[in-house]
């Protein structure tokens, strides 16, 4: 068995891209990120790395984020949100298809005046969803866990209130249940600024 093959050495120098990866690389050249997966810790790391990279390249021009996501974990959300607020390049967010839960927060967290939704897209916001209480834990730790979750929830409500311009109490009241919106209703609620016709 051979451990090195000189005939295939060129593969190590120029990787062959398969499938859609090629398209995304070309889009990345134009500072476009396509987010089409659930928000998770892994995805958050990749997305924040991309955002930081684009910001490092150019502080002035717009980074575009196309969102089509079911939402996901709050830890990932707070990671991405903090990076979005940290970098100085303006971020244009576009909802294509659906932005639910955590993804809707990311949509609303774009630069003011640069938040778009496609005409037929749908958006949903709510407070955090939890598995409660933790099995096998006693009441004291359940109580602590609840306080921890409440802090996360308050944080998300604060972010939504800040970016929609609604008072905190109203958003808190609204987010006790799921609110399903089309693009027009999202515009009225202040989650986006424009509808792409």
């Amino acid at each position: 068995m051979k451990y090195s093959n000189h005939e295939h050495d060129h593969e190590n120098i120029r990787p062959i891209l398969t499938g859609y990866a090629d398209t995304y690389v070309k889009l990345a050249k134009h500072r476009v990120i396509v987010v089409a997966e659930n928000v998770s810790a892994n995805m958050a790391a990749e997305l924040s790395a991309l955002l930081l990279y684009f910001d490092n390249e150019d502080h002035e021009s717009v980074i575009e984020m196309y969102l089509h996501s079911n939402g996901g974990a709050t830890s990932g959300l707070s990671n991405i949100y903090d990076v979005m607020q940290m970098i100085s390049a303006p971020i244009k967010t576009v909802c294509v298809g659906k932005c639910y839960s955590a993804a809707a927060v990311l949509l609303a967290a774009g630069t003011k005046g640069e938040r778009y939704a496609m005409k037929n897209s749908s958006i949903m916001i709510h407070g955090i969803q939890v598995g409660f209480p933790l099995p096998g834990h006693d009441i004291t730790s359940s109580k602590n866990y609840y306080e921890f979750l409440k802090e996360h929830n308050d944080n998300i409500i604060k972010i939504l209130a800040h970016h929609t311009g609604h008072p905190l109490e109203k958003v808190k009241e609204d987010c006790n249940q799921d609110i399903w919106m089309n693009a027009k209703q999202a515009l009225e609620y202040g989650l986006i600024d424009h509808i792409v016709e």
């Binding site: 409660f132 096998g136 006693d138 009441i139 249940q177």
Partner: protein, 194 residues
């Protein structure tokens, strides 16, 4: 396992369940987790035995790792409701929710065998639901209410204050039968006849 024994009378031999036979002599067993079916069986038998004779004592053997708090409370309430004195005997192990049944026996008639163990802690959750935060709050309140109920009963049975009991059982406490007598969870250790 086969729990049938042969019983004979003038008509001939016929099989009888051991537990059935013992329950004729007012001896009941809780030797399982406190599931819905166990609890309802015990409650039904207690009612029946009390209706038959409300003067004679009913003996309850306990070897249980606990279970649903609601089932434990159901048995406890029924034990308080009926008139017959109830002797509780811990054989093997009584844990968490099963302890309130053990401690809820008629005062002076709460026993444990020499090598029995008793463990008490605050309620632990063995389930969870996926919900929004307001629902989670309701679940938490409910669990805390149940925990307080359990601690109330333990306080009443041991003659200690609620504060003291809550403090003592904040973490899991393991006791042998002598220590349980000292804490007043039971009244005496069963003496060996040999």
């Amino acid at each position: 396992m086969n729990t049938l024994v042969l019983e004979s009378n003038e008509l001939g031999e016929f099989p009888v369940d051991v537990y059935q036979k013992l329950s004729n002599d007012r001896i009941l067993f809780i030797c399982d987790d406190l599931t819905d079916s166990v609890a309802s069986d015990i409650v039904a038998t207690l009612l029946l035995k009390d209706a038959e004779d409300s003067e004679k004592k009913i003996t309850l053997f306990i070897n249980s790792m606990g279970g649903d708090i609601r089932n434990a409370l159901m048995i406890y309430d029924m034990m308080q409701m009926i008139d017959s004195p109830i002797e509780t005997v811990c054989i093997g192990f009584a844990m968490n929710e099963a302890v309130i049944i053990l401690a809820g026996g008629t005062p002076g008639m709460r026993l444990a065998t020499k090598n029995a163990s008793i463990a008490v802690s605050q309620l632990t959750s063995d389930w969870f639901i996926n919900s929004d935060l307001p629902n989670a709050k309701k679940m938490l309140d409910l669990s805390m209410q149940d925990n307080k109920r359990m601690m109330d009963i333990l306080a009443k049975c041991t003659g200690k204050t609620l504060k003291q009991v809550s403090k003592d059982f904040d973490r899991k406490v393991f006791m042998n039968s002598a220590q349980a007598v000292k804490y007043n969870l039971i009244d005496k250790v069963v003496k060996s006849n040999k």
